[in-house]
């Protein structure tokens, strides 16, 4: 396939992915809005005033960035894992596999689909959060780059999950037992300086902490950790996951006999 044909194929996959998650918007776009609104109401409006300030900011303003990023993470991830596994399960993935489409185009197509859903949900949640807090923006560049990179990273993660999944249970194991705990412990609700030294050290082993802090820096201008370290860690994860996915796709793991 020449470059132009590959571009057509890529766009086809992206449109297909976009169509999929907008068709079932009640399952994809609506739930994160409801969940995060509840967080805003409970932690921001009801409990927040009693907590007082966190790192010099109102509690609601402190938690909003993390909640936005959390919805980006879960939505990018679950979009790719559900869609890819679904295609594998229904065997409609074979449509792509028997075509001349190169593996990296398939991968990029799914990733872009996941990023699109992550960012759309992120935007909706951001708009909703304006009802509860008055967000200021410290650095647009940091916000946009971190949100895109994070969405890419978790779309790639969802893809890996989709490649290895053999049943629908395998699709929900990683989000439930790894992703959600890491996100909650990734400093959405607190600054890690509140933790005892030992748990501060443990927290630093959690990659999501770096993303949430960098994203929060984009809004508030504060971070528990160095911004550049965040970019470095996200970058490394993206490269590694990209290589892993491409490797297993070309070996035909779980998709070719």
């Amino acid at each position: 396939m020449n470059a132009r044909e590959q571009l057509i194929t890529f766009i086809t996959i992206v449109i297909k992915e976009f169509t999929r998650f907008t068709r079932i918007w009640q399952q994809t776009l609506l739930p994160p809005v409801i969940t995060t609104s509840l967080y805003f109401i409970i932690f921001g409006n009801l409990i927040g005033p009693r907590i007082g300030q966190m790192d010099g900011f109102n509690y609601i303003d402190f938690i909003v960035p993390g909640l936005i990023l959390m919805s980006v993470i879960t939505n990018s991830y679950s979009n790719v894992v559900t869609s890819f596994f679904g295609a594998k399960f229904q065997r409609s993935l074979e449509e792509m596999l028997v075509s001349p489409t190169p593996n990296y185009v398939i991968l990029l197509g799914y990733i872009t689909g996941g990023v699109a859903r992550g960012i759309i949900v992120g935007l909706i949640v951001t708009i909703v959060s304006l009802l509860f807090s008055d967000l200021r923006i410290h650095s647009v560049g940091v916000l946009i780059s971190i949100v895109v990179l994070t969405a890419v990273l978790f779309s790639l993660g969802g893809f890996t999950n989709g490649v290895f999944a053999r049943s629908f249970d395998d699709v929900s194991i990683v989000p439930t037992f790894i992703l959600t705990p890491l996100t909650y412990l990734g400093g959405i609700f607190y600054s890690i300086h509140l933790l005892p030294d030992f748990w501060q050290g443990v927290s630093l082993g959690n990659p999501i902490l770096y993303m949430i802090n960098a994203f929060r820096f984009g809004f508030l201008g504060i971070s528990d950790i160095s911004l550049w370290l965040s970019y470095l860690i996200i970058g490394i994860f993206i490269l590694v996951l990209f290589a892993i996915n491409l490797h297993f796709l070309s070996r035909g793991h779980g998709i070719r006999h």
Binding site: T9, I11, R20, R23, G86, R91, E94, E95, L97, H257
Partner: protein
């Protein structure tokens, strides 16, 4: 001329240890209408899986219009359209979306893709259904949807894995007409089937696969002739040094006491005996020689008759 498909000593052993193909050699000329016949589990779908990249071969060579899949699989794949045995489209998508996506996977621009989608959906009688979800189509419509899908990039080689399974007689006939038409227009077609009748009415050449072995690869005409011949083995009372030249039936001496004769099925045996008597050959006993091909045919034909009755 480069063959449309060339397969050399193709082996496949699945991960569970089942060897589905024990060294297949096959050639399909460009423009041919080719049948791959065989009972359940013969390895037909495995061959197609390997050609279309869904199954990795264990060893052997596959060339599609001269392109070795080992060297440039994407290019080889761009020549073929596949209609798989089992439904493999997204049931939540509509025929229209499915065809447009398919075109996209082959790098066809949207405008052209729309024209083709309209053309092939209409030809397959699915234009009215273009916006229904695929899961709401009937079984026969789903099969026609897969045919329309396989044509959108206008493949030079069309491979159909039991395209008429579960399709009623009337639709089956119209599918046959359609396949004949695109074959006349230049598309090479390979079709697998359990139905001898289907192969007979459509195909010029035929290969028969059984338990992973190619047991026959010939023209439809020769095969039918072969099938209509019956072989008998005769034990003779007296030794015979050589075949008498006067015999007008096809015969062969296996040893001096054993004569093998081939006659057309349903032919009267009296003629055979008269000839033998004229040559003073006396027969002690006679048995019917069953060969694998015949057994298979009895099996396939039986299956065919049953399904025809059911349909």
């Amino acid at each position: 001329m480069t063959p449309a498909l060339e397969i050399l000593s193709l082996y496949k052993t699945y991960q569970n240890g089942v060897t589905a193909l024990h060294g297949i050699d096959l050639q399909v000329a460009e423009g041919d209408f080719f049948a791959l016949l065989g009972p359940n589990g013969a390895g037909k779908s495995t061959v197609i899986g390997i050609i279309s990249s869904l199954v990795n071969k264990t060893s052997g060579t596959v060339r599609i219009f001269g392109v070795d899949i080992k060297n440039d699989f994407p290019r080889a794949k761009s020549f073929i359209g596949v209609v798989p045995q089992e439904f493999n489209f997204n049931v939540f998508e509509t025929p229209w979306q499915i065809l447009l996506n398919q075109a996209g996977y082959y790098g066809i621009p949207r405008g052209l893709a729309r024209q083709r989608a309209e053309k092939y959906l209409s030809q397959m009688g699915l234009w009215d259904k273009r916006d229904s979800q695929a899961r709401d189509l009937s079984g026969g419509m789903k099969r026609r949807l897969m045919i329309a899908r396989s044509l959108v990039h206008q493949p030079r080689l069309l491979i159909l894995d039991e395209p008429t399974a579960g399709v009623d007689i009337e639709i089956r006939r119209s599918m046959w007409d359609f396949l004949r038409k695109i074959n006349r227009e230049g598309t090479t077609i390979i079709l697998t089937t359990h139905y001898l009748e289907e192969a007979e009415s459509l195909c010029r050449n035929i290969a028969i696969l059984d338990e992973g072995h190619l047991i026959e690869n010939t023209s439809m005409r020769l095969l039918l002739r072969k099938v209509h011949m019956e072989t008998f083995v005769l034990d003779l009372e007296q030794p015979l040094a050589q075949l008498p030249p006067g015999l007008s039936i096809k015969a062969q001496l296996l040893d001096e006491y054993t004569l093998e004769v081939e006659i057309i099925k349903d032919q009267n045996l009296n003629d055979l005996y008269q000839q033998l008597a004229r040559e003073d050959i006396r027969v002690r006993s006679m048995r019917n020689k069953a060969n694998r091909l015949e057994q298979l045919f009895v099996h396939l034909v039986g299956q065919n008759n049953n399904s025809e009755r059911a349909a």
